[in-house]
Subunit: 369 residues, 2 copies
């Protein structure tokens, strides 16, 4: 069996993942690789403007509370570079500059206390431009991500039918330059919009190199298809011990990308300080509107950084059984909601008081952990 | 290597799944198991009433157009059994009755042309009641699902700490009765709200028995966490060759459950007659509001039963590259949307005409396939 097959076998169980060894790369106050916890990334979706910075900072803090560790911003011009710099000076979350085409924008970003700069070798141009970027990054203690995308490979590789192989070749050609310049503070990513190409490209790369990997399916689609492709692709790689930081690319708000990323890590036992929600899908038996109840509490529940299981059940078939194994449970029974703590009924309330009573019990539990 | 390990190895590639052999069980005009296509199920979420039947029939037809093959209804009382019967006489989609506690309701359902009846052995009561149900099912040519849920195991097994083992024991105890009565038209399910227990229980069962399996993570949660857990759990089983029909249990509408189920099968190359959407997650570079564009077209796109790839991109970085490999692509560039067919620009339109132009091109493509 190859090394990766051994890791897949070891990662089938109910324990945290056994991960492939990678180099530790600093990104602000975060470390990517080297066995450090797998971080969750997202990307800001709007262009920055001077008057939006306050709101963006609040959003960054909120994303952070919900499990986001690092946020990337597209930097299409010099003004955006300076605005990102202003944010980076205030943000507690490390920020990454994403630069395409124009090496001067990357250089301007490196004047600011950003954590990392992402460049795409396919479009940054002549070698001397990359060399200038790397030299300045080294001086500033800022790391680099080389982001290979199947949709934007360098011209000489774009015609290859073996997409995964071409992506690895594109990464290797950048690596050659980086290593020649003695620059090692690098995270790589190899993304495609298909699961299989992404998985194969990352397996090939991880089988040969020790650089940490940022993983994800790119352009995965709108919410539901995007989460399905990402969960399958990213979990396949993580179970093979591959991946040091993840980004779920959805045509949906950053909060959804973070929620999906955190949930993937929870499902693989890589995040434990957050709440697992078990909830009834509803059927014609339920007297309790689980969906509307959840919509009212889910945002607060996602902010709790404690290892709790919460069960929100609709009826007496599976409700009490599931609720028994949860720290906090609620289930409908006739016209009343019954609230359980560790399998014991603590309250019975009418449905209209259910949200209030549930949140009160949740607060009590959080105070005692 | 065990049989399952061999299947996992065979199912890593870019081809349809190699599936474990199971018995073929008829459910109305659908066949579950026996190598027939993996079907997608959902469950109706409201209680039936006489005046809702017309609307429910329309919804069933819509679910069917979006890839749903079979729909289950909770039947909490005799009146609901007759309403389900009335639906079953009209519906082109096979319908399943889900009965708990009261065997008389199951018997009443079997008076009607339903496709299958699901009972949960943990709560149907004395053996003679199950015997009556099976005897009538056999007469009517209606198959049965034995649905084992970790949250509602029979009392004698409920205390066991090996949940997966206890679920298999519960299934075996039902199987013993069924086989004693010579009843073999049975689909089994073994569901837990945790991925690992579900996967292990189904692997154990599939390693020993040839009955087809209905798979899913039960009470998986609200939309995002529910899809993540389901995609990881269900794809893990399918890649092991296990699973003949799938249900994604979400605290969300049936349409979302079906969209997630179809997408899981597409990701594993098990469904090809539907549209794959590649779409940009947006960033500060985009001038084209991909999310709002997609929200306007996604519902129509999901109804197309053709093997197409559509790329909806925001900007010129990855846009043209991805769009090139899609039958239909749209990307923003400055103030215009550019529409591609098979990598060739066919139209340039202002953003406000983008939805209309895109749908026109989509129709032309569909007419020619």
């Amino acid at each position: 069996m190859t090394n990766i097959a051994v890791l897949i076998e070891q990662n089938r169980g109910d324990t945290p993942l056994v991960r492939k060894k990678t180099r530790a790369v600093k990104a602000g106050n975060l470390i990517i690789g080297g066995g450090f916890p797998i971080s969750v990334q997202t990307m800001w979706k709007q262009r920055l403007s001077a008057d939006s910075l306050g709101g963006v900072l609040d959003s960054l803090a909120d994303l952070n509370r919900r499990g986001c560790d690092i946020v990337r911003f597209a930097v299409p011009d010099l003004e955006s570079a300076d605005l990102l710099g202003a944010l980076a000076r205030e943000s507690t979350v490390p920020l990454v500059a994403d630069v395409h085409f124009d090496y001067r924008i990357a250089l301007r970003c490196l004047d600011h206390p950003i954590a990392k700069v992402r460049i795409n070798p396919g479009n940054i141009g002549a070698e001397w431009k990359a060399r200038e970027i790397l030299s300045k990054a080294r001086e500033s203690g800022i790391s680099v991500r080389i982001g290979i995308n199947s949709g934007s490979l360098p011209k000489n590789l774009d015609g290859e039918t073996d997409r995964a192989g071409a992506m690895v070749k594109a990464a290797e050609s950048e690596m050659e330059l980086l290593e020649r310049l003695g620059f090692h503070e690098v995270v790589f990513s190899l993304k495609s919009s298909t699961i299989e190409t992404t998985v194969v490209a990352n397996e090939l790369f991880a089988g040969k190199y020790q650089y940490p990997l940022h993983i994800g399916i790119t352009e995965a689609g709108p919410l539901i298809p995007g989460i399905v492709k990402s969960a399958i692709g990213v979990s396949t790689l993580l179970k093979a011990g591959i991946g040091d930081t993840i980004r779920i690319s959805l045509t949906a708000p950053p909060l959804d990308e973070v929620a999906a990323g955190v949930e993937i890590l929870k499902s693989l036992k890589e995040r434990t300080n957050s709440v697992t929600v078990i909830s009834c899908p509803r059927c014609g038996r339920s007297t309790f509107d689980v969906q509307s109840f959840l919509e009212q509490v889910v945002s607060d529940v996602q902010k709790i950084q404690k290892p709790l299981t919460v069960a929100v059940m609709g009826c007496p078939v599976n409700g009490p059984g599931e609720a028994k194994r949860a720290e906090l449970g609620i289930t409908g029974s006739g016209k009343m909601a019954i609230i359980f703590r560790d399998g014991t009924i603590v309250r019975r309330v009418p449905y209209e008081s259910a949200v209030h009573a549930f949140c009160e019990e949740m607060e009590k539990i959080c105070e005692n952990i």
